[in-house]
């Protein structure tokens, strides 16, 4: 039992593997396969994230928001989730979305500004990510309310940042979750920045997790650079949700080890010394240290991983390169199920395009 053991009001934080790669209680760790899987997936999403950055710099993607620093949160949550769990992400959860089944190529296509990337696999319980900060958590709560109404077992993970907790819709989502006992895990990645604004200024309380007390359910602070702690906490919160125990709030404390997006320049407002300090806590390096020291990970494993990851990314980039552009039908076709009144506008656009292509 992790929940209930760490009191945010007392400044307690849950961590399993510290920044030096040392495990606190080896006996409580997941098995070796799981540890290796967590590590491999962190490497993978970091690589795909780095690739997205360089694709953006080449002009092949539009503005892109990197996730660097949050690998452990996303991988931990991905492994904690079961097949039927729902995911309600923000724009920052590209790694988590991929691990839950969204093809890498879709992610690249979407950030390239191609609507076709927004088509996730049919049947996957992943909502399109939300750009208006703080607005998506209500949908997660609503999904859970619906499951309660239908008497279905369900659990939902919704992700958002420290900044999002200032929005009124966050409050309404938390309150509804408490009142209706919605089986929702509120997963807040406190990467300490909302663009340039420090999380310590976002609110006057020392933690974000303690806000859960205002809504009558549990909140916990977790080391968000520790994939194991994240995996275990989210697992427990989801199990509780599935069993009718209602919502949980998890504050994953990390640090944004990148610009806010490719349009940002964090050097204007980040302190290099602080950045270095947090870089030393790198979630990927940390777990590798543990695995290596525990003799679970060898050079050849790393080499194979690198090759596999590269291959997956190359394939996605190839799809990006050969993808069709959206057609006028793609732009008009999803405004309503059926909307004959739009037909003339679609015809107008197609006519203009055709006449342009004929040079008159």
């Amino acid at each position: 039992m992790i929940l209930g053991k760490y009191d945010p009001l007392k400044g307690e934080k849950f961590c399993m593997i510290d920044e030096n790669g040392i495990a606190k209680e080896v006996a409580s760790l997941p098995d070796a396969e799981k540890l290796k899987a967590l590590y491999c997936d962190m490497v993978k999403i970091r690589a795909m994230d780095d690739k997205a950055f360089s694709l953006q710099r080449q002009g092949r993607l539009g503005t892109y928001g990197q996730l660097k620093g949050s690998e452990a949160v996303q991988v931990g949550a991905a492994h904690a989730m079961e097949k039927d769990d729902w995911l309600v992400p923000s724009y920052r959860e590209n790694g988590l979305m991929h691990l839950r089944g969204v093809p890498l190529s879709s992610i690249y296509l979407y950030w390239a500004g191609n609507e076709l990337g927004a088509k996730f696999p049919e049947g996957s319980k992943i909502l399109p990510f939300s750009i208006p900060v703080g607005s998506q958590m209500l949908h997660a709560v609503g999904l859970g309310m619906a499951a309660n109404i239908r008497g279905d077992k369900a659990a939902i993970v919704t992700c958002f940042g420290d900044g999002a907790t200032s929005e009124g819709e966050f409050h309404e989502a938390m309150n509804f979750a408490g009142v209706f006992n919605s089986p929702t895990v509120f997963l807040c990645t406190n990467n300490q920045f909302a663009i340039s604004f420090r999380s310590t200024k976002q609110t006057k309380t020392p933690t974000i997790a303690q806000k859960a007390l205002s809504y009558g359910f549990e909140g916990i602070v977790v080391d968000g650079m520790d994939a194991v702690a994240m995996y275990q906490t989210v697992s427990e919160a989801l199990a509780k949700a599935r069993m009718g125990g209602g919502p949980t709030f998890i504050e994953a404390v990390t640090f944004r080890l990148c610009d806010h997006t490719t349009s940002d320049d964090a050097s204007i407002y980040q302190d290099p010394k602080e950045v270095a300090m947090w870089q030393a806590r790198d979630p990927v390096v940390r777990l590798k240290k543990y695995l290596t020291s525990a003799n679970l990970w060898k050079q050849e494993d790393e080499e194979k991983l690198t090759t596999d990851v590269k291959k997956a990314i190359d394939e996605a980039v190839a799809v990006l390169g050969s993808a069709n552009k959206p057609t006028p039908e793609d732009l008009f076709g999803f405004t309503y199920a059926v909307q004959p009144q739009l037909d003339w506008q679609l015809r107008d656009l197609k006519g203009v395009i055709e006449r342009k292509s004929h040079g008159n």
Partner: protein, 325 residues
Amino acid sequence: MAIKSNLDAVNDALRTAMKKDDRVVVLGEDVGALGGVFRATAGLQKEFGEKRVFDTPLAEAGIVGTAIGMAMYGLKPVAEIQFMGFIFPALNQLFAHAARLRNRSRGRFNVPLVIRTPWGAGAGALEHHMESTEALLTQIPGLKVVAPSTPYDMKGMLLAAIEDPDPVIFLEHMRIYRAVKGEVPEGHYTVPLGKSEVVREGKDITLIGWGYMRHLAMHIADLLAEKGIDAEVLDLKTLAPLDSKTILASAMKTGRDIILHEAPRTCGLGAEIAAICSECGLLSLKAPVERVTGYDITMPLRMSEKLNIPDEARVLEAVDRVMNF
């Protein structure tokens, strides 16, 4: 057929929908035990239980946002916003999500959500309780907006709205909640969304209205008939997407059009209708399209609100102008 008020027609539609489809749920402020401040949901909680008919905390974004989630889960939520003037806190959810999730997910999700809300002036209510802000909603692609004005349409269109796969804002005019009664069939039937209706044929002039204004228009048409003017009355019924075909057919037939609405004039829905009429029917117009509307001011309080709403005198003067252009 039973004679019912608009209010009872709403209640009837909800009950009919809930019986037919157990995915239909009703939520909002005070919709449960109280049955809504107007009693539109009276008796539903008792009949269908607290799981399917429930009160929510006082938070409009919360109501609409969670209803969006429920709709994506596969339910058919019918959410009440207590008065149209209080829909603003929910606009972000409507604009950023309800209207876009189909598009954003490439059709993988849709949002079969109905938002019912009382609107319009003339009932002598408090500030913010007599707003007509339909044109804020009609310009958002992805939303449907309907405003029936008779019990028959009220029931049939609410049933159609609940069955519609996309989000529908369902406006119920307060002034005619109880004042207007009419025949309402038993059981299930639908009146299609997306269609306007010529509710009185005429050849000299077209009066276009919705909600209470449709009834004012009918009254004016009677007065005009005595003067030998043959007025056509168009009940808009669906405000978005607009049924341009029906609007234009009538506008071009009579060549004289007056649009009535309670909302402020500037950028009201009347502007769009006027624009369409002159765009597509310029040569058929025998006079400029007139708009008789609320003024561009904050809705006055109870004692003066009627000064701001189109009334017989203002419409008749507009008719004079149009007929004598």
